[in-house]
């Protein structure tokens, strides 16, 4: 192709700076201290312990949050069991549905407040929490609410019933959205839940608890307990749990799979990923560049389905790389609450260290690093959008999940080669393919061993669209018709 003969040299100049446009924090009310939401009430922890949740953009404390001990977990599970055996289990499905609709509506009403708190507590840009996380969370409840009295149509020739009490553990990258992904289908199918949000991002789940109180949901149907790994372990190991749903790292997922081995707890796991994003020479290049950006720098790269391995066909490699670098130069990194911020704060100091460790590994492995030249704030946890070229399939930065804004770029020549490389990973959560040729799209999307495949788009989510992995990326689906299967027997 003539594409390789292209003479690319002139450089564009980007010096993007807009006056600060911060979202007003006063639109959200946050308590100084939060207790555990058990049986419809906020209860002081029996453990008597609290921990701080901080704003990763400023490193300042936002609130102190109760740490649930074993006795607290037991109390929550008992409340959930009582609710399951009591009013919730006996309630007609159409009434159950109305409660879930109520939750959806009330999230919509308080969307701005939720968005602000999500960005404060987790570091994600307000544009994303406002336009993606919170609306999707509300829509997820709305979607599953409608399923509650229609389950017979979801499972042909099969009479399904709820599992009972579900223990749900969610990560810090999409706090409210993950809570919605867990709670909504569980309630729609008639289960009761005990949910544990991540210790660095508990606040929107606790606000959801307040909202659930306002919805008059019967006590015990949803219990929200905060804490770290030990609290999660106590929940996983509680004997009266019927189902564990976990989203998080593959490492912890395996621990949970082992921990539940001597039980009959049903299990669904949504774990890590190292997705291939594949750009063919006939791709819509400019939209593909946007897809690469959205694939790896969305939510600071804290996305299990992030397109962290980029494969570019050699004939368009130079062009894609130049466009990618120019696009990176326009990304605004900084205050998550500023409406113009594209890349916010890294969720925690620990995660920032992990990312920095991998950047060092990449350099040591001989890959060539490029990072955005943007200024970073003096305080808080920030990382420039980064990419590596000259990466080999055997590089650690191409194999291991970094969970940050770090892209590993490889080139390829043929379809077969790229499919083999794309599938050459223990993970199988997601993948992307960019080409203008329809028949190629169907070939590649069929042959990629991944649960979600985006063709000529990336990182799209919708309540009706099932999400979940192949291989070590976990099992079970969340979202859509297929997401119901995780909560019935």
């Amino acid at each position: 192709m003539a594409k390789s003969s292209k003479n690319i040299q002139p450089a564009l100049k980007f010096n993007i700076k807009y006056a600060p446009a911060p979202e007003s924090v006063s639109a959200a009310s946050i308590n100084e201290q939060y207790n555990l939401f058990i049986n419809g009430k906020f209860e002081k922890p029996l453990s008597k312990k609290y921990f701080d949740t901080i704003n990763p953009a400023t490193e300042q404390k936002i609130a102190s949050v109760a740490e649930a001990g074993t006795a607290d977990v037991d109390k929550a599970v008992k409340a959930a069991r009582a609710a399951y055996n009591g009013h919730w289990g006996k309630m007609p499905a159409k009434e159950r549905a109305k409660y879930i609709f109520r939750i959806a509506r009330m999230i919509q009403e308080r969307a701005r407040e939720f968005a602000i708190i999500e960005s404060l507590d987790g570091g994600k840009p307000i544009r994303e929490s406002r336009d993606i996380d919170i609306p999707l969370a509300a829509n997820h409840f709305f979607y599953y609410a409608g399923w509650a009295d229609k389950l017979n149509y979801a499972f042909p020739n099969r009479n399904v019933s709820p599992l009972g009490v579900a223990g749900q553990i969610i990560p810090w990258n999409f706090p409210l959205l993950m809570a919605a992904w867990k709670i909504a289908p569980a309630l729609a199918c008639g289960n009761t839940v005990v949910l544990k949000p991540a210790e660095t991002t508990p606040l929107t789940a606790l606000k959801l608890a307040e909202l659930i109180q306002d919805c008059d949901l019967p006590p015990g149907v949803v219990n929200i307990i905060t804490g770290a790994g030990e609290t999660g372990a106590a929940l996983v190991n509680h004997p009266d749990i019927d189902k564990i749903a976990f989203t998080g790292s593959t490492e912890v997922g395996k621990i949970i799979q082992r921990a539940t081995a001597n039980t009959h707890k049903k299990l669904t796991l949504e774990l890590g990923g190292k997705a291939a994003n594949i750009i063919f020479e006939d791709a819509p290049i400019d939209q593909a560049v946007e897809g690469i950006i959205n694939g790896i720098y969305f939510n600071q790269g804290h996305v299990c389905c992030a397109g962290s391995r980029l494969f570019v066909q050699e004939s368009v490699y130079k062009e894609v790389l130049q466009k990618l670098k120019d696009r990176i130069a326009t990304l605004i990194v900084g205050n998550p609450l500023d409406k113009n911020t594209d890349v916010g704060a890294i969720n925690s100091k620990q995660q920032l260290q992990t990312i920095q460790k991998y950047i060092a590994i990449g350099k040591k492995e001989g890959a060539e690093m490029f990072e955005s030249s943007c200024a970073l704030p003096n305080k808080g946890f920030f990382c420039r959008p980064t990419l590596f070229t000259n990466v080999a399939q055997s590089s650690r930065i191409a194999q291991e999940e970094i969970f940050g804004p770090v892209l590993a770029i490889q080139t390829f020549r043929t379809d077969d080669e790229v499919i083999e490389k794309a599938n050459n990973t223990p993970y199988g959560l997601s993948a992307g393919v960019w080409t203008n040729k329809g028949s190629r799209i169907f070939n590649i999307t069929t042959r990629l061993r991944a649960g979600v495949v985006w063709a000529n788009t990336y990182n799209k989510f919708d309540p009706v669209s099932p999400f979940g992995g192949y291989k070590e990326s976990g099992f079970g689906r969340e979202g859509g018709l297929h997401g119901l299967n995780a909560y019935v027997k």
Binding site: T445, V452, T457
Partner: protein, 295 residues
């Protein structure tokens, strides 16, 4: 007049479309109720299992890539072959001590079950797929796809119908498998392998081992190239082992308990979907000339 001496059959393993003896050279005796030797079976080893997984893995892309219609015809062909070897299958059950009427019923049910799943091959995707009406301008659909290599521990209480009921849904869905037959009721398993072998089933799609659950179970669960383990009627203790080992590579564990094999409840498309993954695909839909706005 001298009586004709029967030619006895050597029962071997079925791996990668061949009938090797176990690499270990070990055997175990299967006897009838009177204690008379029926056959010496291969006592499959860890390495036999390994070889079978290699065969199953290399057969996977070919088998899953076949058209559903083609898989359907091949499964139906298996049923045809079973029917033509009906007498052999019944005789082997009788050897194992079945009553004649039970042997007849089981073979009939096994053949019918294979026909049942032959019919599902090109239908379960239709029933369990969805087109998902997302809120953005994208076409979004979800389809079941085979999970990969499936290790099956067949029912230890059934000679033929349990085995057929376990294998059929797994391969109907495009998976390949390694199956451990019932330790004490293994004859039909190897005869079934011969049927498979003469039914256009590509080598490696079905691999059948005879041996001990107690010895092989942990390898079924800990092999890193196995995607799912399907078990029938194992004890809690055995299941704990399977689940613990499966965590090594996040295997799907599918556990079935009491099943009345001859009954219609022992068959459903849900046995197929239990070893399927759901793949969701997104693609933009352009809106040129869609109503009022050209752009």
């Amino acid at each position: 007049m001298t009586e004709r001496i029967d030619v006895l059959k050597t029962y071997k393993l079925y791996i990668g479309g061949q009938f090797p003896r176990t690499e270990s050279g070990r055997y175990y005796a299967v006897k009838n109720a009177n204690g008379k030797l029926i056959a010496n079976m291969c006592l499959a080893s860890r390495k036999d299992f390994r070889d079978a997984v290699v065969a199953a893995r290399s057969a996977f892309s070919g088998w899953s890539g076949k058209s559903a219609f083609n898989r359907s015809q091949i499964l139906y062909r298996i049923a045809e072959m079973m029917e033509s070897r009906r007498t052999q299958l019944i005789d082997e059950l009788l050897l194992l001590g079945y009553k004649s009427v039970d042997a007849n019923n089981e073979v009939s049910a096994a053949i019918d079950r294979m026909v049942y799943y032959a019919g599902w091959c090109d239908k379960y995707q239709q029933v369990f797929s969805s087109v998902n009406p997302v809120a953005s301008p994208h076409f979004n659909f979800s389809v079941p796809e085979p999970t990969g290599v499936v290790a099956i521990v067949a029912s230890q209480q059934s000679a033929l119908i349990g085995l057929v009921s376990a294998i059929a849904p797994v391969i109907a869905g495009g998976n390949t498998c390694v199956v451990l037959a019932a330790e004490q009721l293994p004859l039909s398993a190897i005869s079934f392998a011969e049927i498979i072998h003469s039914s256009d089933v590509p080598a490696g799609v079905v691999n059948i081992l005879t041996g001990k659950v107690s010895e092989l179970l942990k390898y079924f669960a800990d092999h890193m190239d196995v995607n799912a383990v399907v078990t029938y009627q194992l004890t809690n203790q055995e299941m704990q082992l399977v689940k613990e080992k499966s965590a090594l590579n996040v295997k799907r564990v599918v556990e079935y308990n009491a099943i009345s094999w001859l009954d219609d409840t022992a068959q459903s498309p849900y046995f197929i979907t239990d070893v399927q993954e759901i793949k969701t695909t997104w693609h933009p839909i352009e809106t040129v000339a869609a109503g009022k706005s050209g752009y």
